[in-house]
């Protein structure tokens, strides 16, 4: 039993659904086709000039407090790159905040659609949602501790915002199934896990041991989220544990997917 609601029907997008029209469409006098012998390189050439002369998305904000500015200056003198850490903290903050909203959307959908066919419950989702919101606040505190402004949108925060737009669309479309929504959530969690790993490495480079500890805890929770949502997604499309080799690293990416 699966809760995937996609069905077989009159999908008209492929050429097999309109054999007469498709044949006519492809029955073209070769003289009517392009013969300029070109390829995509003309597009690449047009893009190259823009890439070479583009401005950046924007800047990493200067710390607005004296302590923050002094901290940043001292670290820069030591040869560190505190601005990269601030940018990446801003990225994780933005992603956790959007992630919280993605779970809000999934909870609303599941309140209507979840029918007990998979092991996921609303309570599970609420717990993950609370973790995401807590992670957002954790990062916010971390930015403040460095004298940064957690309300600013850093360039990397902007990038994950654009990346996440498709996820927001899928989760909030009333037509998407729980399985389709979980697919989007798996995408988010995969990216989130990688993001935390990078952030911990950066905090470690800056010898911010308290942050490393806090972030490692958050990473462990994110790993758990990923394992859970992957399992729920597989259940939702009808995969059972009998179908996958749980212990095979090629399948699990080195992580156990058992909850």
């Amino acid at each position: 039993m699966t809760i995937q609601t996609e069905h077989i029907g009159m999908n008209r997008t492929g050429i097999q659904m309109s054999p007469i029209d498709s044949k006519a469409m492809q029955d073209v006098d070769p003289n009517m086709m392009s013969h300029d012998g070109g390829d995509e390189s003309a597009m690449a050439e047009l893009r190259t000039d823009y890439i070479a002369h583009a401005d950046a998305l924007g800047s990493i904000p200067l710390p607005g407090t004296i302590t923050g500015a002094v901290n940043m200056g001292v670290q820069m003198l030591k040869g560190d790159s505190p601005q990269i850490l601030l940018d990446k903290l801003g990225e994780r903050l933005a992603f956790e905040r959007t992630g919280t909203r993605l779970y809000d959307a999934l909870i609303t959908k599941c309140e209507v659609m979840l029918d007990g066919d998979i092991s996921m419950t609303i309570e599970d989702l609420e717990q993950i949602r609370a973790d995401e919101a807590r992670h957002f606040l954790l990062i916010s505190d971390a930015i403040e501790s460095l004298g940064g402004d957690p309300t600013s949108q850093t360039p990397s925060a902007d990038v994950v915002g654009v990346e996440s737009m498709g996820l927001v669309q899928i989760l909030n479309d009333p037509r998407t199934s729980v399985a389709q929504s979980l697919h989007a959530i798996v995408t988010a969690e995969l990216s989130d896990k990688a993001g935390w790993e990078t952030l911990i490495a950066l905090a470690d480079e800056h010898e911010l041991s308290e942050m490393v500890d806090d972030f490692t805890q958050a990473l462990n929770q994110e790993r758990e989220h990923l394992a859970l949502v992957q399992t729920w997604y597989e259940e939702a499309i009808g995969l059972t544990y009998g179908d996958v080799e749980l212990d095979n690293p090629a399948n699990a990416g080195g992580e156990s997917i058992a909850p």
Binding site: S22, A24, M25, S34, D173
Partner: protein, 403 residues
């Protein structure tokens, strides 16, 4: 089935009501609905937006008409919303663009064949070959930027082939104006055809102006800039077909009649029952608007609406693939160019347009760059295995045996 505008009073304006829930209905399915359902949705949205635009301009010039026009515009606004919101959110802006060009091609081709005035039919055929080429350029962009097949939207009804090259559409304003019909002698349907195409091209222009900046890719940004400019020329061209001596109220009557004609045509062809019910409801609304406009004509101009609405609609506008007609026009007229209001062979094109074109194309042509060597294949050009020119990272040689 023929349809008479004076046979029913429609829904009175005071009973044309909406709630937000009512306005935002289930959208069409990008995957399962017939492409012509989407064509109708887009066309009708264009007509509703034209109604709003015209209503505002008419109100600026006519104090006495301000209240009835305001009442009607309130409904038109909500009709436009309900219709435009039928486009589902899984259409990327570029996929919707493909659909807009499909509308331009199939509707212009249908109208070109029904238009009784041979000069205006020529105008439609001239514009048709340009929108046809826009579809080809945007299809190349969809394939090469998003990795998607334009035919998922077109459903094999409309060809993806080069037309009159977009880089040659850029003309001097002097060569975009056409001779108008004469309101006193022109066929009633001639006036409705013109209004339909003006509405369709206007919303296409506005759509490209809105979505162009949504793209990060500079090829897309340039291509939308280029084609939006041509759409503005098309609005100029088609708008100039309208007789400038028609009074404001006469134009209003024609606008409402045209909306009735298009909803009637949609009803006759619609395959989606949910959407058909919307067309039926809105035909009744438009009949209500039409009769209000007729009343204004009688009251303020002491004229009989039958002077303007001279016949019943004998048959609906056709919503079907016009492939054979389009190909014939393509072969016969691709080399036509403009010289003032006349159409001439390429060799005799107006020098004004040639020099204007040299200015806008001075730094290269996005429409040429995007479609360089592009040949549409089912499933995108990546289905042509000879395009796999790079060795795979695992060291396996690509399969280049299949052409």
């Amino acid at each position: 089935m023929a349809f008479g505008l004076f046979d029913s009073k429609g829904t009175s304006i005071d009973n044309q009501r909406f709630s937000w829930r009512d306005m935002v209905q289930k959208p069409i399915s990008k995957l399962d609905d017939d492409a012509f359902t989407r064509v109708r949705v887009i066309l009708v949205n264009g007509l509703e937006n034209e109604a709003l635009r015209f209503g505002h301009m008419a109100a600026r010039f006519n104090r006495d008409l301000r209240l009835p026009l305001a009442k009607i515009r309130r409904t038109e606004q909500h009709q436009a919303t309900m219709v435009n919101w039928l486009i589902a959110a899984d259409h990327s802006p570029l996929e919707t663009t493909i659909a807009y060009e499909q509308v331009a091609i199939e509707i212009t081709a249908a109208i070109a064949q029904r238009e009784p005035d041979p000069y205006l039919a020529q105008v439609y055929r001239f514009g048709l070959l340009e929108d046809f080429d826009h579809l080809y350029r945007y299809s190349a962009l969809l394939d090469r930027l998003e990795g998607k097949d334009a035919n998922n939207i077109l459903q094999s009804y409309t060809d993806v082939l080069p037309g009159r090259p977009t880089m040659e559409h850029h003309r001097a304003p002097e060569d975009d104006l056409r001779d108008p019909y004469n309101a006193k002698t022109a066929d009633f349907m001639t006036k409705l055809h013109a209004l339909t195409i003006v509405a369709s091209e206007y919303q296409t222009h506005d759509y490209y102006m809105n979505v162009g900046p949504l793209f990060s890719d500079t090829v897309a940004r340039q291509l939308y800039a280029e084609i939006a400019s041509v759409e503005e020329q098309h609005v100029t061209q088609y708008e100039s077909m309208l007789d400038p001596t028609e009074s404001w109220i006469e134009q209003w009557v024609l606008h409402e009649a045209n909306e009735c004609y298009n909803y009637y045509s949609c009803i006759e062809h619609e395959t989606n029952h949910h959407i058909k019910a919307i067309w039926e409801r809105f035909l009744d609304y438009e009949l209500g608007h039409f009769h209000m406009a007729c009343e204004a004509l009688k009251q303020y101009e002491k004229r009989d609406p039958a002077e303007i609405v001279t016949a019943d609609f004998a048959s609906p506008l056709e919503f079907r693939s016009q492939r054979d007609f389009v190909r014939k026009v393509l072969v016969a007229e691709v080399d036509l160019r403009a010289d003032g209001t006349r159409f001439v062979d390429k060799a005799n094109e107006s020098p004004l347009s040639q020099s204007y074109r040299n200015i806008v194309n001075a730094d290269g042509s996005p429409s040429e760059a995007v479609a360089s060597g592009y040949v549409w294949l089912p499933g995108t050009e990546l289905n042509r295995k000879s395009t796999m020119r790079t060795r795979s990272v695992t060291g396996r040689a690509p399969d280049t045996t299949t052409p």
